[in-house]
């Protein structure tokens, strides 16, 4: 509120100045009223392209000293461990490796007030829209879901049961918009 009063005061001052000194060229700036200002919308949103690579080939150097993905006594790739019970074993996502590339993931805030077969009008709010990139290229993406007795493979007494191992490669069709918004009554 204060800001608006202040800025319109400044603008008025500027107009007065402009009127007093017509030669200085201030005259071409017109004051926007509140109604006009409300309809101004900045060019919003972000457009992302790129790739994420997780230990795709085991890094730039592969040898017996730094480690190699060919070395079966070692693990290659990221590992995420989660313990389900105090003193219990670990649920792990293991040997996560590969490269995901995408072109044109978009991010913006969108006002929804129509569409969705009538739901849009009822909803009438802003959502965060993540525009999916249509095609995601998977390059040798692999991961394993496993259960393990220890958090790290190097811990003593390590035993692991692989439940499933997934391997994905090539173009995956992923189209649409992911709309995210708060629910409930905060």
């Amino acid at each position: 509120m204060n800001f608006r009063t202040y800025s319109s005061g400044v603008l008025r001052l500027l107009s007065v100045l402009a009127l007093s000194f017509p030669g200085t060229g201030f005259g071409e700036m017109a004051q926007l009223d509140d109604g006009d200002l409300a309809s101004v919308s900045g060019q919003g949103g972000i457009y992302l392209s790129g790739d994420i690579s997780i230990n795709e080939l085991g890094g730039p150097v592969q040898n017996s000293y730094f480690g190699s993905c060919a070395d079966t006594s070692k693990k290659c790739g990221a590992r995420l461990a989660y313990r389900l019970k105090e003193g219990g074993g670990w649920m792990v996502l293991d040997e996560i490796r590969g490269k995901f590339s995408f072109e044109g993931l978009t991010l913006r805030v969108r006002a929804v007030d129509d569409g969705f077969a009538g739901d849009g009008q009822l909803f009438n709010r802003d959502v965060l829209e993540i525009g999916l990139p249509n095609i995601v290229r998977y390059d040798s993406v692999e991961f394993k879901l496993a259960a393990s007795s220890t958090a790290r493979p190097t811990d003593p007494g390590f035993q692991q049961t692989d439940i499933i191992a997934v391997e994905m490669q090539g173009d995956v069709i992923l189209e649409g918009n992911l709309l995210v918004f708060p629910t409930g009554n905060p």
Binding site: G170, N177, L178, T183
Partner: protein, 358 residues
């Protein structure tokens, strides 16, 4: 977290006013108090709603074009590697003609979305716990919902929230889902197996997770509702030339309840690195708590507990198939209703490790 922030603000501001009034300015160390379990269970965070608009997903294996989708790591009983090759997996709009023409679909409704939320355990029968919930669109009142099965359902015909595809709303909220795969055990590769579900609905499904104080363990409750007017399975030659008879299940409804508030599911990994899922047996009543005639004995609370356990439909699993046909033969309808899981213990076993110990 409305309660938390509201309380803190009030406490902080009155504390501040008091300080200023009595002592003038002093360095005010804000006093943060820990919340008790009971208070914490009152916390009702605003959740996150998620809707997918114009969504389409497809992936598969097409070796010539560099596409691979494999699931491995499994072993057969005799120790050979089992590999599942997913030839095609799709989630797309209805009327896809078994995945031939993929069109976009909306998943979730803006007014009833997929939700990730922390809910008050006291509201759902889990006393004094904050519960993390992942939920599909909730069921609605039958006066405004849509029939879960019919692909031409109109408002007021059932309890499902997701609307079928129609002329005026082509996307709809019920996707066609399909999977084609083959399984190789060692060098033996099976035929291609196709599974397709038309206009599928999973409304009312959820996964709830919380912690158990006594066992100090993650526990959960899983409800899966799956309705489709047509679920079909058939097998084809590797090259797709000839296919066997199609097993067709019309009006397929699965309502699976794994774990409930009285008997939650326990998740664990044991010392040998095997994954364990357990539904504990329900306790037996003490002598005299239930009368010899099955009616109320010495304890009203105990009787109510067992009454709820045996009668609450939420604890039971159902499977109904409107009509089962194989090729041109009809086998009529089948139902399995009111299954109550008394005890469950599933444990993975590392065959590779056991075989090497033989």
């Amino acid at each position: 977290m409305p309660k938390f922030s509201r309380t803190t603000t009030t406490v902080a501001s009155s504390f501040l006013v008091g300080c200023l009034a009595a002592f003038g300015y002093q360095a005010a160390n804000a006093e943060l108090e820990s919340l008790t379990e009971t208070e914490l269970s009152e916390v009702d965070g605003a959740g996150i709603g998620v809707v997918l608009e114009d969504f389409k997903f497809a992936h598969g294996t097409d070796v010539e074009n560099g596409r691979i989708f494999k699931i491995g790591g499994l072993k057969s009983a005799d120790g050979r590697d089992v590999e599942v090759v997913v030839n095609k997996l799709y989630i797309a709009g209805a009327n896809s003609n078994y995945g031939e023409s993929l069109s976009p679909v909306n998943l979730g409704r803006l007014i009833n979305p997929y939700k990730i939320d922390v809910i008050d355990g006291n509201d759902i029968g889990i006393d004094d716990k904050a519960v993390l919930e992942f939920a599909a669109p909730a069921m609605m009142a039958a006066t405004e919902g849509f029939d879960c099965m019919s692909a031409s359902a109109v408002a007021g015909s059932g309890t499902c929230s997701s609307r079928p595809s129609s002329e005026s709303y082509e996307n709809g909220e019920r996707p066609d889902i399909g999977l084609q795969m083959n399984v190789a055990v060692g060098d033996d590769r099976s035929a291609n197996i196709n599974i397709h579900a038309k206009s599928a609905v999973i409304d009312g499904s959820y996964l709830r997770l919380w912690g158990d104080n006594e066992r100090r363990q993650m526990v959960g409750q899983f409800k899966l509702n799956f309705y489709t007017p047509e679920l079909s399975i058939n097998a084809c030659e590797q090259n797709g030339s000839t296919c066997g008879s199609r097993i067709l299940m019309q009006d397929f409804a699965l309502e699976l309840a794994l774990g409930n508030t009285l008997q939650p599911m326990f998740f664990d990994v044991d010392g040998t690195g095997n994954f364990v899922v357990e539904v504990a047996s329900i306790r037996k009543p003490q002598a005299g708590e239930i009368g010899a005639d099955g009616l109320q004995g010495s304890s009203t609370e105990t009787w109510d507990f067992y009454e709820d356990y045996y009668t609450n439909p939420d604890y039971r699993s159902n499977l109904t198939v409107g009509n089962l046909s194989v090729g041109d033969r009809d086998f009529g309808s089948s139902r399995i209703e009111g299954m109550l899981i008394q005890h469950l213990n599933i444990k993975t076993r590392d065959l590779a490790h056991e075989l090497s110990n033989l």
